[in-house]
């Protein structure tokens, strides 16, 4: 899956918008700058912008197909993973204690403006 249609490849000249923005690194190493709209979880930002995550459980921490890596400082700030999230994540091959999150469990907040999100490999 290499083609990404919607997510614009990072453009430093892109105009500012009111919604927080994040940078997403896909599995081919390409960078995308995306807006994070109100009421979206991080998973929804990725999915709705056509990034190749399955998110097949619709965001109920049941499938682990929305696995991403965040900066360890961001992860620390997000607080503890809930039990389901922890149990699903720690059994994935690419689990990283400091950086792994289920993107469907990450809610929007201004504190997350500008973060870099890296898609974990497909299981």
């Amino acid at each position: 899956m290499t083609d990404i249609r919607r997510a614009d490849v990072l453009d430093p000249e892109a105009p500012d918008t009111a919604d927080p923005r994040i940078v997403v690194i896909d599995r081919d190493g390409e960078h995308h700058r995306l807006d994070w709209e109100p009421d979206q979880s991080l998973m929804e930002v990725l999915r709705d912008n056509g990034l190749p995550i399955l998110a097949s459980c619709g965001g109920t921490a049941s499938c682990a197909t929305c696995h991403v890596f965040l900066d360890p400082r961001v992860t620390a700030e997000l607080g503890e993973r809930c039990e389901d999230e922890q149990e699903l994540l720690e059994e994935t091959e690419s689990f990283d204690t400091a950086r792994s999150r289920l993107s469907c469990q990450v809610e929007r907040s201004t504190a997350l403006d500008g973060i870099t999100v890296t898609l974990a490999p497909e299981e």
Partner: protein, 411 residues
């Protein structure tokens, strides 16, 4: 640009995934998504879970945000059922007579709740649950103190039972078989969920079917097959689904409890594909093939079919089938397909409320149920896909990682 339109009938889990995947693959011949429902395409699992639990009409969980379709040049036609497929002319006809030409057609019409063919089945107060409109109606009907009779202890029936109990209703569940979830799981898991519902106030009537629904203007009684009459305010029937295949059958496409498809999801007409709940996939070695009703299957088949449409790619999206259900906060996740004759290994303790049941076929892991033991789910899916042989004694010990209970058998 739109010289080779792919028309998708049905914008549920399968149809929307197919449209999104075509956009991702840069299909520029035109993508048209038709649905009979007016609403923007939405998720079905929350309809029987989060949505029923509260009295407030919660917003839909959309499958994609509403600007997604326009942004990706996906043309949506909503509120309009497809009435006929004209294969000779390569056209579909919508209600009202408008015709659209297709280059390829993908049928993703899903399924409809099975109706009980008994007197009174049409009485007001008798519900089924499959669409957002159904969920809204049921949400309104579940008022505290009302007597709710659920027919069928499958996962929809039980999810509704849990939501109704949480809303303060008085819940009775009538089930033809002698245990809950009998179609999808083993006795031990069934009994666990039965006691979960009992401890939340539900009553069960096992081994009984429904003879009639009675009432004056609206349902007031459920008469079971042994003649017992249960007073009730509302009824929810959850006795399985039937595939929406009529459209295909009328067009002369081969059907047999589902639209028959090959592993690429092509029907007996190679220009027409079928995916999701409506499709029955025929593979070598399976006499009748398989029809699966789950989000996972809908998504996987959508990817398989669209890969084939775009590039004739024979790459089949293989994923171990799985689904989940949540009742009274307890989560059951199932992966793989169980047979009645499989050997059973219990991992962990049902009494402690956290356990998995492994299904071994000739020593190999064929399926698993995890009950609030999500830890086993991801590794089990991989072991099932690999056809791994497990040592039952090690697999039963939750202190040993599941992956480490594999036996090396030289073949």
């Amino acid at each position: 640009m739109s010289d080779k339109p792919v028309i998708i009938i049905g914008s549920g889990h399968a149809g929307v995934q197919a449209a999104a995947r075509l956009a991702e693959l840069r299909w520029d011949g035109g993508i048209v998504l038709v649905d009979q429902e007016e609403t923007a395409p939405y998720e079905r699992p929350p309809l029987s879970k989060e949505m029923l639990k509260s009295a407030d009409p919660t917003a839909l969980s959309l499958l994609r945000k509403d600007t997604f379709y326009r942004d990706n040049n996906i043309e949506r036609i909503s509120g309009r059922p497809v009435r006929t497929i004209d294969r000779a002319a390569r056209q579909i006809e919508l209600a009202g007579g408008v015709r659209h030409s297709y280059h390829r057609l993908i049928i993703a019409t899903g399924s409809t709740p099975r109706r009980l063919d008994v007197p009174g089945a049409d009485l007001p107060g008798v519900h089924t649950l499959s669409s957002h409109a159904d969920a809204l109606a049921l949400q309104k009907a579940l008022t505290a103190g009302s007597r709710v009779t659920i027919v069928g202890a499958g996962y929809i029936g039980l999810e509704v039972a849990a939501a109704a109990a949480a809303r303060g209703c008085d819940v009775t569940i009538v089930e033809f078989r002698d245990r809950v979830l009998s179609r999808v799981t083993s006795e031990i898991v069934s009994r666990h969920f039965e006691s979960l519902h009992r401890s939340n106030g539900a009553r069960f009537v096992f081994g009984a079917g429904v003879r009639a629904f009675e009432g004056d203007g609206r349902v007031q009684r459920v008469v079971t097959s042994d003649g017992t009459s249960l007073d009730t305010d509302i009824v929810v029937v959850g006795v399985g689904v039937v595939p929406n295949q009529q459209l295909a059958a009328d067009a002369g496409i081969a059907c047999d409890d589902g639209i028959l498809v090959n592993p690429h999801c092509q029907t007996s007409d190679p220009e027409v594909y079928a995916i999701g709940d409506v499709a029955r996939c025929l593979r070598d070695g399976e006499p009748r093939g398989q029809r699966l009703e789950s989000v996972q299957n809908a998504v996987a088949q959508a990817i398989t079919a669209t890969n084939h449409v775009v590039s004739q790619s024979c790459e089949v999206k293989t994923e171990v089938p799985w689904f989940w259900t949540v009742q009274h906060g307890t989560r059951l996740q199932t992966a793989g397909l169980r047979h009645e004759s499989d050997d059973i290994v219990v991992r962990g303790s049902a009494l402690a409320g956290k356990f998995s049941v492994l299904y071994l076929r000739e020593g190999r892991l064929a399926a698993i149920d995890t009950v609030d033991a999500l830890k086993d789910f991801v590794p089990a899916k991989k072991l099932i896909a690999a056809g791994a042989a497990l040592d039952p004694a090690r697999a039963a010990d939750p202190s040993i990682k599941l992956a480490q209970s594999q036996t090396d058998i030289a073949q």
